[in-house]
């Protein structure tokens, strides 16, 4: 799957972004971590779904990398890289997948439905598009409270863009003129559905104008471009320009989830330029430009894998939640719980 240097040409000409290596490190670790998750899943050690970001680590890492304390990040299902870049501890990922009671979701929710709102990272609900307006609300509130300089970033797929919630959320962001960046990754499949059954416009970035957004496109397999375009969008939002829509092009290089063999992905599409593996392209660039040598990469892999292993091992040693000890109360105002006796 590794592509020739020509296909990566645009990258090779420019001096690397200052965060290039940092981004690579996170992408690299994400890949290692996700492979680990996949193998745990295959071994029957993870209950429920496992959703990987393989193929879109470059876009995702760029989504997390330019955010600061006080910013809001609402990642979706393929954003392990972005989450790590934003500062989510690896162990919390492992805890959520493995159902540790010590994780941020304490076994109540699983896999990608995790977050830590206090740290600025929202926990997605499954309904695609629903988080867009929630980010708008966070930003609106920050402005009301007199905070300054913050932005919000959320991600969506080309499928999720077709939900009513995404539309309403994108529009209300523009009406409120909150500093929002929405990064839409067109990875050419929504589960098994190809783009021609998802939308009929030439390019999703054409939606930007209709909402009063500034739009930009990016090759999601090219880390340098991702860093450049997404950092610019973040900067523009921070500077008070209208909301930003970035549309990245990639191919999903895994199944929708690890239960899915993705046999519906056509051979033709796998030959498209957007089908390149961003991680491999980045690695190749690093080697070609001698930013790190092969040995350095080996060593990096070992370090990163050790961190992953440690996170997984920690989570595995932690206790699972216990039904009889669980606090079955969905409201924070305990005295307003409805007749707990009704539920046995």
């Amino acid at each position: 799957m590794l592509q020739t240097a020509e296909r990566g040409a645009s990258t090779s000409k420019n001096a690397p972004h200052e965060k290039y290596l940092k981004a690579f490190r996170i992408m690299f670790q994400t890949r290692i971590f996700e492979e680990k998750l996949a193998s745990l899943y295959r071994g029957g050690l993870i209950t429920g779904g496992v959703y990987l970001g393989k193929g879109q680590e470059a876009v995702s890492v760029a989504c997390g990398l330019f955010l600061q304390k006080g910013d809001v990040f609402a990642p979706l299902i393929r954003d392990q890289a972005g989450r790590s870049a934003f500062g989510e501890p690896l162990v919390d990922v492992a805890r959520t997948y493995l159902g540790s009671r010590s994780g941020p979701m304490r076994g109540r929710d699983g896999n990608i439905h995790r977050g830590c709102p206090k740290a600025g990272q929202l926990a997605m609900i499954s309904h695609l598009g629903a988080m867009v307006s929630v980010v708008v609300g966070k930003l609106l509130a920050k402005r009301m409270k007199g905070e300054k300089g913050f932005i919000g970033l959320t991600t969506i797929g080309e499928g999720g863009m077709q939900t009513g919630a995404t539309h309403e959320g994108m529009n209300i962001a523009a009406v409120e003129r909150v500093p929002l960046v929405i990064v839409a990754t067109n990875n050419h499949y929504a589960y098994s559905t190809p783009n021609d059954r998802q939308f009929a416009c030439a390019d999703l970035v054409d939606r930007a104008k209709g909402y009063g957004y500034e739009g930009s496109s990016v090759d999601g397999t090219d880390l340098a471009q991702c860093l450049e375009v997404i950092s610019a969008a973040v900067k523009h939002a921070r500077a008070g320009r209208p909301p930003q829509l970035v549309v990245a092009s990639t191919l999903r290089l895994a199944g929708h989830g690890e239960h899915d063999d993705a046999s519906y992905v056509t051979e033709d599409i796998k030959r498209e330029s957007f089908a390149q593996d961003a991680l491999q392209r980045t690695e190749q660039f690093i080697l070609e430009h001698e930013l790190v040598d092969r040995e350095g990469l080996q060593q990096m892999r070992a370090e990163l894998a050790a961190e992953v292993d440690e996170a997984v091992a920690t989570a595995q040693q932690e206790e699972a939640p216990v039904g009889s000890e669980e606090d079955w109360c969905a409201v924070s105002t305990r005295e307003l719980a409805d007749e707990p006796t009704l539920a046995e």
Partner: protein, 322 residues
């Protein structure tokens, strides 16, 4: 000076905006001089600049935005133009607001105001009572104030609660109900109220139907029959204890609701009394709801579709005869 139910809602919001910087109001047509389809925010935008905001026609995003703001420490009040339009915000309410605290331990103190219930000529899409749907899902507090006093104090309390609150205000009561002044006392959220003590039968009801029940009770008094009327006030949590105590006194139960007949508040109340207070009942409990069709436009049809004093009275007689 007298205060209507609607004015009580406006005054409660004025007080909330005055006393608490975290409060803002978000909804369609609520700002400017206009002050909302029902004028529940009349004057507030001018009095509290930047804190009463018009939104696009985007109910899902209105609630989503409120959720985000609430998680960030604010106390948003969302006005739906009609309860019926909250159907397109239901996902945000049930699945995002309702699960937030349990999933992330982050409180989500939004208050969603639903102008609810039937009025003459309003038809299928401007008349609905949706408390049953919102109560079914976990994580929400669902209130149905039936008096001017409750409209005021329960809205103030709703905004203070750290959880999402669905505040169902009845449009028929907006102008029809008047009190002498704003209340100085209150019953806490979660408590039902015996609005009329009785001896022979308990009518358990909520919202506008409380007043139909009171009218029926008044009628029966002439015959020496004393009906007790219990106003649930909060349908989730539901104050089973007060309901059971009433049934213990009267031995007979009639539940009256304006919503559709399958499920909803009347089914829940009867299920609780039957399961937890079976031996208190001297006769089969009964219920009366709206009919199982969309809510009709024409007043002739509408007045038959909802429970009314005549149909309630007939049901009372039936239960008393047992």
């Amino acid at each position: 000076m007298s205060v209507t139910y609607l004015e009580a809602i406006r005054e409660a919001q004025a007080k909330l905006l005055r006393d608490d910087d975290r409060v803002f109001i978000y909804g369609q047509d609520i700002a400017g001089k206009f002050g909302g389809a029902f004028k529940a925010t009349k004057g507030l935008a001018e009095q509290f600049p930047g804190r009463v905001l018009n939104t696009p026609i985007s109910e899902d995003a209105m609630v989503g935005t409120a959720i985000g703001a609430a998680m960030e420490g604010m106390r948003p009040i969302v006005e739906m133009q009609f309860a019926d339009f909250s159907s397109v915000a239901l996902n945000q309410i049930l699945n995002n607001a309702g699960t937030q605290y349990w999933r992330t331990q982050t409180p989500c103190p939004i208050t969603v105001r639903l102008p609810s219930g039937g009025t003459k000529g309003s038809g299928p899409f401007h008349s609905q009572s949706m408390e049953g749907i919102y109560s079914h899902y976990p994580g929400l507090v669902v209130l149905t104030p039936a008096t001017v006093e409750d409209a005021y104090t329960m809205l103030i309390d709703a905004v203070a609660i750290d959880d999402p609150v669905i505040y169902c205000e009845h449009k028929y009561l907006y102008y029809h109900l008047k009190a002498d002044a704003l209340p100085t006392e209150k019953l806490p959220i979660g408590k039902a109220r015996v609005v009329r003590p009785g001896r022979d039968l308990s009518i358990v009801t909520n919202s506008a139907m409380v007043h139909e029940a009171l009218a029926v009770a008044q009628q029966f008094r002439a015959e020496g029959i004393e009906l007790e009327v219990v106003d649930l006030r909060s349908v989730k949590p539901l104050d089973t204890a007060t309901v059971l105590a009433s049934v213990a006194r009267t031995g007979r139960l009639l539940c009256v609701g304006e919503a559709f007949p399958w499920g909803g508040v009347t089914a829940e109340v009867i299920a609780r009394v039957a399961t937890e207070g079976f031996h208190l009942l001297d006769a089969a409990p009964a219920r009366i709801n709206a009919k199982d069709t969309p809510i009709p436009y024409h007043p002739n049809l509408w007045s038959e579709h909802r429970p009314n004093a005549k149909t309630i009275a007939a049901k009372v007689r039936q239960v008393l005869a047992e």
